[in-house]
């Protein structure tokens, strides 16, 4: 009769293997064509390998073969959720380089549109993030209901829904419609209600609290070392916003606060963004009151813009963080060097540090909380 071996298999008898899970480029949680290879030990992620470049279209090189004005469209296509903010940055860079002063009215139009665009971008974030956390599309639809109002408004002004191409060095392409003020007030009123709806769905939701509080905490020092900017940096508690730190355009004329978090965890990142939407509403309301009449384009501009020899770095506070444009001019009608500092790219570089050691489901919401736009990461 055979004897039965009653020994319990110890750790050495059982061989376990980490598996590599390929998340993306076609995966609902990667917000585009981002790919990350997760090394997974059970449910815990032991390594993250981000792979980017699926959406590289040469958005930095192509403008070097374009007239200064032609390159505006390429900036719509970098951060395609915050087109006005990126255009604003590029247009100001060209203005700095060529010494053009934009008209007063166009400055106000730009600021209003850029702030509204910040709201749409954050609405997109809240919607996408809520699906990452697992709400079956409800917060997403609420966010998009209001986003649609702003998109329609943008369409009325620019004729485009996505690639606006509306700002120009020295002003804007054409004047806004006559009913601009009323329409804008109407939209803003709806947005305010929408923000409180979103707060009700997300901010005080116990499951969201249980999932997001304390997850992927980041200290201010770490954030600065990783080059993190925007809401992620402010969520760590640092009051740093380029609109206040080095006021560009006419931002020094408005009253607004910089919302900050305490822990730099996922929850703070969401809260900071929702608060930022409210601050943007404040800025737009003030700008609407003060917007003057007048020309929308600076006088005496040449048909072909030529920039004197020199270089310029212009940065603005985009919805995702610092969006910068570096231009080198040699006196020609084209930039000699054109480079974009993308906030998403720098923020994404901290992904590994934030997610190793967390659960697979947490890595998904950590990625969601960075709020990447792949067009900006890959350019």
């Amino acid at each position: 009769m055979a004897t039965i071996d009653y020994t319990i298999p110890g750790e050495h008898d059982l061989e376990t293997l980490d598996i590599h899970v390929n998340v993306g480029p076609q995966h609902p949680a990667t917000h585009g064509v981002f790919r990350m290879v997760l090394t997974v030990d059970g449910e815990v992620v032991t390594d993250v390998d981000p792979i980017i470049g699926y959406m590289h279209r040469g958005n930095e090189k192509l403008p070097e073969n374009c007239d200064f004005r032609q390159a505006i469209g390429f900036h719509d296509r970098t951060d395609y959720l915050a087109q006005f903010n990126t255009e604003h940055c590029y247009v100001q860079a060209v203005e700095k380089l060529t010494g053009i002063t934009p008209t007063e009215r166009s400055e106000y139009i730009r600021v209003i549109l850029a702030e509204l665009n910040r709201i749409t971008s954050h609405q997109m974030f809240v919607g996408a993030f809520s699906t990452d956390v697992g709400i079956f599309g409800t917060a997403f639809m609420y966010a998009f209901r209001d986003r649609e109002l702003i998109q329609d408004f943008f369409e009325e002004i620019t004729g485009e829904r996505m690639m606006y191409n509306y700002f120009r060095p020295g002003g804007v392409a054409w004047d806004v419609p006559d009913n601009f003020r009323e329409r804008c007030r109407q939209v803003i009123g709806q947005i305010k209600k929408g923000i409180s709806d979103l707060e009700g769905l997300i901010v005080n939701n116990e499951v969201v609290l249980a999932r997001c509080c304390g997850l992927s905490r980041m200290s201010t020092a770490d954030a600065i070392n990783w080059g993190v900017s925007g809401p992620l940096l402010r969520a760590t508690g640092l009051e740093y916003d380029l609109r206040k730190a080095e006021p560009y355009s006419i931002y020094d004329r408005f009253e607004f606060d910089i919302p900050t978090g305490k822990d730099g965890d996922i929850y703070d990142r969401v809260i900071v963004r929702i608060e930022e939407m409210k601050q943007s509403v404040r800025i737009v309301e003030q700008a609407l009151l003060r917007m003057p009449d007048g020309p929308i384009m600076a006088e005496g501009l040449k048909r072909v813009l030529r920039a004197p020899e020199g270089e310029v770095y212009m940065r603005v506070e985009g919805p995702r963080g610092e969006y910068g444009v570096y231009l080198v001019a040699t006196g020609a009608d084209k930039p000699y060097r054109h480079r974009v500092r993308a906030a998403s790219f720098c923020n994404l570089s901290a992904l590994r540090a934030m997610s190793v050691g967390n659960y697979v489901s947490d890595v998904v919401i950590i990625l969601g909380s960075i709020d990447i736009v792949l067009g900006e990461v890959d350019r």
Binding site: E43, G134, I135, V207
Partner: protein, 373 residues
């Protein structure tokens, strides 16, 4: 009391099973439409509107699409496991449907151990999920299958134990008898704690939000079902929706007095049908409402909720029942004790969820302090 469909007992049983087998898919088609409409309304959309009036035929169109779709099987899949898995999921669900009486007349078999049979058979489906996860040779499916196994096995226990609490009160495992006992007071009045636990565990058994971890769209993209297409995929859907109906029907039978409460035991058949339909739909709509509003828990939170909160409280419910039954305390003590325990459980879950940020500590490297809800 029961009417026979045919004189021969075997023929009668076969006919009844055939009716269940045919009614259930039709019900599923309708239910998918209802779910899409309800969730659409909750999300300020219209839901399906194009196929038929108010999109009523959307389910039919989807069925035809699924039936005619190519049945794709991954090359590297474990063929028998992959192909059998869907049957292992769907067949137990149909088998469980046999035991559920919908009114005093309409049922397939009135079993003396109906409750026991239902719970035993419906837990077989777990095997199917693990098989699908393993047999697909896909890492998402594997993760989902393992999650499904862990989750469904864990939540079987509070589900079954809360049903045990009811069986203790009724001194019976026959669903028919249990319903007849509730002619003036439904069991929910005596067992609020067991009811809450049953609904939570039922949500987890149906893997719907906030417990849709095995099929999490944004993480494992459908989990065990990720490699299935066409008719095989639709069998996953069918299993899900039939279980939804069955769990809802079971909850209304053992907690809400089935076809009797709030009327008398000998009410007309149409009234019985209406009562059951209203109660069952209330549960189904509740599950759909949850789906549209609640985010997903993490797997460790899910486990903690089950083993650290639900399970001790189900034992508490059973102990309360035992004490009351043995010492023959009056009925209202059950209501008070169970209700107090239900409130205590709710408060506990709420407080732990609120301060979870303090307990959950990870900073880059793995630094995990137990599992924390």
């Amino acid at each position: 009391m029961t009417f026979l469909l045919a004189d021969n007992v075997w023929l009668d049983a076969l006919l009844r099973m055939a009716i269940v087998g045919m009614l259930v898919p039709v019900g599923v088609i309708l239910l998918t439409w209802v779910e899409r409409k309800v969730i659409g309304r909750l999300q300020q959309r219209l839901g399906p509107m194009r196929v038929g009036p108010y999109g009523l035929l959307q389910g039919v169109a989807d069925t035809i699409k699924l039936l005619t779709k190519e049945d794709v099987r991954p090359d590297s899949a474990d063929r028998p496991t992959f192909e059998l898995a869907v049957f292992v999921i769907v067949v137990p669900v149909f088998m469980a449907a046999v035991a559920v009486p919908f009114t005093s007349d309409i049922f397939v078999r009135n079993m003396a151990l109906g409750l026991f049979y239902f719970l035993a058979v419906s837990s077989l489906g777990i095997v199917g999920f693990v098989m699908a996860g393993w047999g697909s040779d896909n890492k998402y499916a594997l993760l989902g299958g393992v999650r499904a196994g862990a989750q469904l096995i864990s939540y079987e226990i509070p589900l079954i134990l809360s049903a045990v609490a009811i069986a203790m009160l009724g001194q019976s495992l026959s669903l028919y008898t249990l319903v007849e006992l509730q002619d003036d007071t439904p069991f929910i009045a005596y067992q609020p704690l067991a009811f809450v636990i049953f609904v939570i565990a039922g949500l987890a058994e149906l893997y719907r939000q906030p417990f849709d971890i095995p099929v999490a769209e944004s993480e494992v993209v459908g989990g065990p079902a990720v490699e299935y297409s066409g008719i095989r995929w639709s069998m996953f859907q069918m299993g899900e929706f039939v279980s939804l109906v069955l769990i809802s029907a079971l909850a209304s039978l053992i907690f809400l007095g089935g076809w009797i409460w709030p009327f008398s035991a000998d009410n007309a058949t149409w009234l019985q049908v209406v009562l059951m339909a209203v109660k069952t739909s209330a549960f189904i709509l509740f599950f759909m409402w949850m789906r549209a509003t609640v985010p997903r828990l993490r797997i460790d939170q899910l486990m903690a909720l089950c083993w650290q909160i639900l399970l001790p409280f189900t034992f508490l419910q059973i102990i309360i029942n035992g004490l009351v039954l043995v010492y023959e305390w009056p009925d209202w003590t059950l209501t008070i004790l169970s209700g107090a325990a239900a409130i205590a459980m709710g408060t506990l879950i709420y407080r732990v969820a609120r301060r979870s940020g303090v307990l959950y500590q990870t900073s880059g490297a793995t630094q995990r302090v137990g599992s924390v809800l």
